[in-house]
């Protein structure tokens, strides 16, 4: 006899939350985020800052929960959940410009640069106090600040921007200092119809 009832995975969005539910929005949520840039054989590629997820050009990124992999926690019911889960911290993140700009610091070893920009989020999107966690994501605009230090980056900011245009989205160089980056990026995004919404 089972002493404990198997725990329901209430973290994951239920069927009523996803498949059968009418969508709340017909356009993606646009939010700000930072990416690190890695030098890959076919050119510079965006990568998430905290997890080794590469954002491939012209392919949407699908969220998977890395919580178990990182902390080696074995879930009691042995079932991985669909990201983003309400009680987890998984999903693809987007935030307001000020919050996202805090991650524009110097690149870590292995990275060549850090860039900043807008991300389209769709699917199941968990709205939080200062940002969102989503199932699917793709960059909507990328801004390459000239002032961020670059690790062994053999591309100038304008060269890096040109190479990142293979993502098929707006890529611009921001020639301004650290404090001004957020304002400059927001002005550019406001002038462009695909800004945050």
């Amino acid at each position: 006899m089972k002493l404990f009832r198997r725990r329901q995975d209430s973290d994951a969005p239920s069927a009523a939350d996803t498949a059968e539910a009418a969508p709340d929005y017909a356009e993606p949520v646009r939010a700000w985020r930072a990416w690190c840039v890695y030098d890959q054989p076919d050119g510079p590629m965006l990568r998430s800052i905290f997890f080794p997820d590469f954002w491939e050009p012209r392919r949407p990124l699908f969220a998977t929960c890395h919580h178990r992999r990182v902390f080696h926690i074995r879930r009691r019911n042995g079932v991985d959940h669909v990201a983003p889960a309400k009680r987890c911290e998984c999903g693809i993140y987007g935030a307001d410009a000020q919050t996202a700009s805090e991650y524009l610091r110097d690149p870590m070893p292995g990275e060549v640069a850090r860039v900043f920009g807008l991300v389209s989020l769709w699917g199941s999107v968990l709205e939080c106090a200062r940002g969102w966690r989503a199932t699917n994501a793709y960059p909507a605009a990328v801004y390459v600040p000239t002032t961020t230090r670059r690790n062994r980056c053999h591309w100038s900011p304008s060269e890096l921007a040109a190479l990142l245009r293979r993502y098929g989205v707006t890529v611009e160089v921001l020639d301004c200092s650290g404090e001004e980056i957020v304002d400059a990026a927001q002005r550019r995004a406001a002038a462009w119809k695909g800004g945050p919404r």
């Binding site: 017909a26 199941s124 709205e127 940002g131 909507a140």
Partner: protein, 45 residues
Amino acid sequence: MKIGRLKRLLIVEPVVDPVPRERPPADAQPKRLVQAGARRDQRAG
């Protein structure tokens, strides 16, 4: 990234795909449709 406490779940189904698709090269653009079949005298039987 700290994005604060959870507020609500949104279901977002974009009408237009947010991922830009690669355009086919100019050579791949269709110009006209032709029927390429075997001539009567080449058909078996």
